[in-house]
């Protein structure tokens, strides 16, 4: 892989522009830095370099030196050192920066090369862009604009290959569109560690295939769709649903675990059509799990909670309940809430003078981008002071308090109390004020249900396993009858007799920056797109459940290693 060594910088010259880059950076990446686009297909920054598509051809030269004395040979015309240009083009993806390297990408020869490569790539291509899902985000289509012929000189028959192979449950392959770049093969082997794809019948009939009897069904299979530069690999879920150029892109986070993979949510007119990964070299590189791409289905799920009553009416009922048994309330917060919501949940617990609980969700981590902690934001609850210790899977303490009669009212911020271990008998003894987005046992048993928003319908931040504070933005509007979590919490605090708390993101951040030591000096707007790592030392001794994964080594493991 091409992660260049951090240390030594070398100066290269690309189309006349000098730039210092880390030694070993390849020409495609170096050119990107000076704003020069080197078209490419097979090269991918996070995969090994194979150099098989030939689209990235460039002219390459080195400063001339006298073979005997090694003294620079000067060019009398310019007064500069003479450059010896290699007569034949070289591939940029496999050419690494070395001192004095000169690259030309805009010469007639290179134009010729690109046109030639494009003509070959298109010879067997079905040219079915009008019915192809990749249209609009297809590298072949893009480069055709610049380097295609516009008409074909090919009079022979095109190859006929399989048109709709189900490579696995989520990926469909059109072999005629495949340009044999092998990105999908390398991804499966190098990143997903599931080497099932390959080229068979190599030659004029080279065909991408999955080994007979095996399937491309690992939880990362859809990344092959993302990196396929053409429309050969398509998502069975997204296929034929929507033209990509109609879709609005919103930066978001994968909330399925504490990895916090960065994502883009693609929506149109309030409807989400797909989720894809967003590059963050410190978190998820350019990948995400398939499971995280389905989370948007919760937005329009059958089980979605909405209210017929106004928020004011719901809050009035909640207030009555809270007044009924003062001093006998408990608050169950959530590791799925945002940092801002967790802060207000904490304030709610303070206002009620009530203990706050959190429910853990754990499962085995996959060592890549799904960690053992299936709550995306347990660290947010720690940082905001909602809880001071790691959560347990079951609310046994709360159950005992209910049995003792110490708790008569529970405010649950999105957690299903039944799933968290409270029995039906215990639920029957208390009044539940349930916030949440989906119907669950505890919303059914609740005295008041206040429907709230999914992560796609609001903005906020979460803190991942690296203690990296990351933002998510609002992609679509929430449904009628669901209310913004911050507003609900702020008004509940007021109903509980607490001080006035802001109900908007900027306002809550003013409070966070003032109140929370780890967030001092920060604001929502100031969090960079790639997140900001917080000082984790106050929680360094906690036995977090995560194991090692891409870009994360647990502190305790790292210390003992």
């Amino acid at each position: 892989m091409t992660s260049p060594a951090k240390t030594e910088l070398v100066t290269v010259n690309i189309d006349g522009k000098e730039i210092a880059v880390p030694k070993g950076t390849n020409v495609i990446e170096a050119a990107r830095l000076v704003g020069v686009d080197v078209p490419h297909y097979c090269y991918h920054p996070k995969l090994s370099v194979v150099g098989n598509c030939r689209m990235c051809l460039v002219e390459m030269g080195m400063p001339a030196v006298d073979p005997a004395t090694k003294a620079p040979v000067m060019d009398p015309a310019t007064g500069c050192q003479k450059i010896n240009w290699i007569p034949r083009p070289q591939i940029g993806c496999a050419t690494n920066a070395s001192p004095g390297l000169h690259i030309r990408t805009q010469t007639p020869q290179i134009r010729d090369c690109r046109e030639g490569v494009m003509e070959f790539l298109l010879i067997n291509h079905p040219l079915d862009c009008p019915i192809c899902d990749q249209a609009g985000e297809c590298k072949l289509q893009e480069q055709s604009t610049g380097y295609g012929r516009g008409y074909s000189r090919f009079v022979e028959q095109k190859n006929v290959k399989p048109k709709r192979t189900q490579l696995g449950p989520r990926v469909t392959l059109d072999d005629e569109r495949c340009i044999l770049c092998s990105r999908c093969i390398r991804f499966s082997k190098e990143i997903a560690k599931d080497d099932v794809l390959g080229f068979i019948d190599r030659g004029s009939y080279s065909t991408l295939t999955c080994y007979p009897g095996r399937k491309l069904e690992n939880n990362y299979s859809l990344n092959t769709v993302d990196i396929c530069p053409v429309g050969a690999l398509t998502s069975t879920d997204f296929r034929f649903k929507m033209r990509v150029w109609f879709l609005k892109q919103t930066n978001s986070l994968d909330t399925e675990s504490s990895v916090g993979a960065n994502t883009v949510v693609w929506s149109r007119e309030g409807v989400i059509y797909r989720i894809t990964p967003r590059r963050n070299d410190a978190v998820n590189d350019t990948w995400m799990a398939d499971s995280g791409r389905l989370l948007y289905k919760a937005v329009r799920a059958e089980s979605r909670l909405t209210a017929k009553d106004s928020l004011a009416a719901l809050l009035a009922r909640a207030e009555t309940i809270l007044r009924l048994s003062p001093g006998l309330a408990a608050v169950v917060g959530s590791g799925q809430s945002s940092v801002e919501e967790q802060f207000l949940t904490r304030q709610l617990a303070h206002a009620l003078n009530a203990p706050a609980y959190l429910v853990s969700r754990t499962a085995e981590g996959d060592g890549i981008l799904v960690s053992a902690d299936r709550n995306p934001n347990v660290r947010g609850a720690l940082v905001t002071g909602l809880v001071s210790d790691l959560p347990q899977p079951y609310l046994d303490d709360l159950g005992e308090a209910i049995d003792r009669g110490d708790v008569r009212t529970v405010v649950s911020v999105g957690e299903d109390l039944m799933a968290a271990g409270l029995s039906a008998t215990q639920l029957a003894k208390i009044s539940v004020i349930q916030l949440g987005t989906q119907v669950c046992a505890s919303s059914v048993a609740a005295s008041v249900v206040i429907p709230t928003l999914t992560v796609f319908e609001k903005a906020g931040t979460m803190i991942n396993q690296q203690f990296r504070l990351q933002r998510f933005a609002k992609a679509v509007a929430g449904p009628v009858g669901a209310f913004d979590d911050l507003e609900v919490l702020a008004r509940l605090i007021a109903a509980a007799g607490g001080p006035a708390e802001p109900s908007d993101l900027a306002g809550v951040w003013t409070r966070l920056a003032a109140e929370i030591p780890a967030l001092r000096g920060l604001s929502y707007a100031a969090v960079p797109e790639t997140g900001v790592v917080l000082d984790a030392s106050p929680w360094a001794s906690l036995p977090f459940v995560e194991g090692e994964s891409l870009h994360h080594r647990p502190a305790l493991v790292a210390a003992s290693a």
Binding site: K189, D195, V196, L197, G198, F199, I200, D201, R202, G203, C210, Y211, P212, G213, R214
Partner: protein, 162 residues
């Protein structure tokens, strides 16, 4: 995988000749095809396990080389060269004659399981085109008359065996 003990011994012997196990893929496939007559899918998986590869890696190799067969062939393998010199001097006629003689199409096994006729690429005997290899024996200048003689000979040998 049901391989003969000799094959297994030769496989064990050949693997350490290579700096990385992966490089032994081709020799192993040859040995297995010699033993079994073709490369069944089971053999692909067996070789992969033996060389610490994934089956797809071996499958790619098997499909790349035309000499590896994924289906059984007849007891006798008639390989007709169809590269330029042979093609110009009547390889197609030769091949078609073989097909008629044994009532079989190229690539298929005759009904009695005796013969498979195939086109192959240059057998490096272009000066005596058209040439044919029957199993391991090269036959030169195989015109129609010679094709009929060779076919008759194959039939005689088959009859003698039964």
């Amino acid at each position: 995988m049901n391989l003969k003990p000799e094959t297994l011994a030769r496989i064990d012997e050949v693997i350490p000749h290579y700096p990385s196990k992966r490089s032994a893929t081709l020799p192993l496939l040859h040995l297995i095809q010699e033993d079994v007559g073709y490369i069944p899918q089971e053999a692909i998986e067996w070789v992969a396990a033996r060389l610490e590869l994934q089956p797809i890696n071996v499958y790619e190799v098997v499909t790349f080389y035309p000499m590896f067969r994924q289906k059984p062939i007849g007891r006798r393998h008639v390989k007709v060269c169809r590269t330029l010199s042979c093609a110009l001097l009547g390889a197609y006629r030769t091949c078609e004659t073989f097909e008629r003689e044994f009532g079989v199409r190229r690539g298929e096994v005759s009904a009695d399981g005796e013969v498979t006729v195939d086109f192959v690429e240059c057998l490096a005997s272009c000066g005596t085109a058209p040439v044919v290899m029957i199993d391991d024996a090269l036959h030169e200048k195989v015109d129609v008359a010679r094709t009929q003689e060779l076919s008759a000979q194959i039939r005689r040998e088959a009859a003698a065996r039964s």
